[in-house]
Amino acid sequence: MLSLLGVGVLLAGLVARRNPLLVVTAAALVAGLAGGIAPLRLLAAFGKAFNDARYISIAFLILPVIGLLERSGLQVEARSAVARLKALTVGRLLLAYFALRQLTTALGLLSLGGQATMVRPLIAPMAEGVAESRLGPGDPDRAALIRAHAAAVDNIGAFFGEDIFVALGSVLLIQAVLQQNHIAEAPLRIAFWAIPTAVVAFAVHAARLLWLDRTLAKGARRP
């Protein structure tokens, strides 16, 4: 029971906004010591667990390729592809980006989108621009709602796309956790089981984006 102190340390550290590397390490040490593991054995267990989890950081292998393409204009090209999305409404513009984001993430291309690379410079201003031209000038609340929706499509698309790609950290982590419980599973089967949820998440959020158009139109008609 005492090992739950580790969860408490984690929560307290994150609420106090301390550096997450320090908080996570402190939580592991507290949970281990409180759970009755001797200090040296705990250090060894933490080191072994970190070493065994290296597959998660394998994702960085792609950085030279992405960097090389970026220096040759990959983002310029991705932005002009997104800018060509000719959408008549805020909801449909966000829906198009949402679909692209989920699809490319499912192909393992998590780093093509993102809040800093796509949403802030491109999707959010485009969505606000469409609202201005379609619905006329709005109040700051409407602009904030639209920006929040722009951030949300990037997150939701990425989260429910990434588990479909077999070689990203999350699928490999699931495989490793099952392994720790003496169950062997292939990444392909784990990735397969992420597909139904991906379809549901797409349908639910797509419907909400189309609903957003109705909400925005109603707000515009209000005197």
Binding site: S3, G32, K48, L68, L112, N155, F159, V171, N181
Partner: protein
């Protein structure tokens, strides 16, 4: 037999090259800190299996202290200007997407093809690790294709990788560290403690009650910890493996995948997650504004996950 060690060697060489370029970069604001951090990571990937468990433990503490206290700095390696990028994008156009697409294609094709290739009765690639080996192969092929197409300076791949890795900074090792935390939690009995805490409140012989406790528990744990990676080992040890897979005979791949996806529903709703803090800061919003928009989808998907698990994970003869 080729195993995951090959992929680790490639990654270790990349980190080592980045550390070496950092050490040679006199203009770097935190030259030796970054050199030490990426250097230690290189040691972990190249020699981790030969360091021993305590050696690895010391290595992790070194990474955490360098990255956690004082932090890392941003490098500014030579790269192209905005105008040059516009010109190159106009020249290459959509062809720029082709090299990156080689990665998923090779990964998928390799995952199937390597299983069939055998040398002298042994599989060429360790069947348990075909995915990661195929990914590494895909990246190497993509790099060759990109170099052939773009003809950049020879040092460009390393310099560009260094620019990107520095911009990720200490957070680069956070997912791996969280997975290690989950493993230590499981070892320390956090999973059993959670199981013992909720056991008395739960009708353990009613399958859907356990399904709901597992899925909602993943969401709540992620809500608290800000990340599903540390929550999964705890909830699988508490309820997933012993009850859903062990007692009720659930499909392990389905229980694992759907559990993680329930955790993601928590990530979408927690102010602890960088995924919600970063866009709020970038877009001049409160984190609550992003979470309010995400919550209805997250809660609906959570319910759908519970229904999918109950309906599909316990069918015999599932794929």
């Amino acid at each position: 037999m080729i195993g995951v060690g090959v992929a680790y060697a490639v990654a270790g060489t990349l980190f080592a090259a980045i550390a070496a370029f950092t050490a040679a970069d006199r203009a770097h604001p935190k030259r030796w800190r970054n050199t030490g951090f990426w250097g230690l990571l290189a040691v972990s990937f190249l020699f981790g299996d030969r360091l021993g468990d305590i050696g690895n433990g010391v290595l992790v503490l070194g990474l955490v202290l360098i990255g956690g206290i004082g932090g890392l700095g941003l490098s500014q390696p030579p790269t192209t200007t905005g105008a040059e990028r516009e010109a190159l994008a106009a020249r290459f156009g959509a062809r720029l997407f082709l090299p990156v697409l080689l990665v998923p294609l090779t990964t998928l094709a390799g995952s199937f093809a390597f299983k069939a290739i055998r040398l002298g009765g042994h599989p060429l690639v360790d069947p348990a690790q075909v995915t990661v080996v195929s990914l590494a192969l895909g990246v190497v092929l993509a790099l060759i294709a990109a170099m052939a197409m773009l003809r950049p300076p020879a040092a460009a791949p390393i310099q560009e990788a260094r620019r990107l890795l520095d911009s990720v900074g200490w957070a680069a090792i956070l997912p791996q560290l969280l997975a290690a935390l989950g493993a230590v939690f499981a070892l320390a009995g956090v999973g059993r403690a959670v199981g013992a805490l909720i056991g008395p409140w739960l009708p353990l012989d009613v399958r859907f009650a356990v399904v709901a406790a597992y899925g909602i528990g993943m969401m709540l744990f992620t809500l608290i910890m800000g990340n599903a990676f540390a929550a999964l080992p705890v909830m699988v040890a508490a309820l997933g493996a012993p009850l859903l897979i062990g007692r009720f005979g659930g499909d392990a791949a389905a229980i694992g995948a759907l559990g993680m996806l329930c955790g993601y529903c928590g990530t979408l709703m927690t102010p602890m997650a960088a995924h919600n803090i970063v866009p709020a800061a970038l877009l001049n919003l409160s984190p609550g504004a992003v979470i309010r928009v995400q919550a209805p989808t997250a809660l609906t998907v959570l319910l759908a996950n519970l229904a999918l698990m109950e309906a599909l994970a316990f069918r015999h003869g599932a794929p």
